[in-house]
């Protein structure tokens, strides 16, 4: 079953240091998202457990 897409957050920090800083300041909150080829498939299948991503 497809995931409930509105519950998923993805943001794009301007560069890698900003992404790392964000992940350090808010630990266990954000996961890196690189491209998405695999994660978007998991999302479509309703099997993407984490909900907050930083596009790197």
């Amino acid at each position: 079953m497809r995931a409930y897409v509105p519950a998923y957050e993805i943001q794009a920090p301007p560069d890698l240091p900003a992404a790392l800083d964000r992940m350090a300041r808010e630990p266990h909150t954000w996961k890196p998202f690189a491209g998405g080829t695999d994660l978007m498939v998991l999302l479509e299948a309703g099997k993407l457990p984490h909900r907050r991503y930083l596009s790197i």
Partner: protein
């Protein structure tokens, strides 16, 4: 049900013109094109990046729009099947698909045409192997592919025609 996040406003260029749409950041570019911008030429096939039916050009690269989060379209230059014909005149590839039976049911055709357009931009005189490789990410359950390969071969032989 989990709390929804805020929608974002995405600004990009589609088929040469500036557009903006609102979408949940993780929603698919495919859905934004079809539902927000009403560009329904882009088709959904498998929905998991295997079939190429939803292929569009994004910043010159061929991508499966079912695998692209809407957020990634910000600032991008996107071409869909609606942007292939110019001023109502079919591209040489589209004309060749018509003449050679390269399109049957039509679900794969927009993605196949975009893949072929992208191929001819990279290899203006492709070998048959390059054509087969260039279209390897696009599945067709009707034609058996031969008519599609013939269509692309014919199109590049007619490159003198306006594109």
């Amino acid at each position: 049900m989990p709390e929804p996040v805020r929608k974002i406003r995405v600004h990009c260029t589609v088929n040469g013109g500036p557009v903006a749409f609102e979408a949940y950041p993780m929603s698919r570019l495919l859905d934004a094109l079809r539902e927000e911008l009403k560009l329904t030429g882009t088709k959904e096939g498998c929905g998991e990046g295997e079939c190429g039916a939803c292929a569009v050009e994004m910043n010159g690269d061929l991508v499966n729009s079912c695998l692209v989060p809407a957020l990634h379209a910000e600032g991008a230059n996107i071409r869909t099947i609606e942007g292939v014909a110019r001023a109502g005149v079919l591209d040489a590839l589209q004309q060749s698909f018509l003449e050679h039976g390269g399109a049957q049911c039509g679900i794969c055709t927009p993605g196949m045409i975009l893949a072929a357009v992208n191929l001819l931009e990279r290899h203006p005189q492709p070998t048959e192997l390059q054509i087969r490789e260039g279209l390897a990410g696009n599945l067709c359950r009707c034609t058996g592919y031969i008519k599609i390969f013939e269509s692309v071969l014919d199109a590049y032989r007619k490159q003198g025609l306006p594109r």
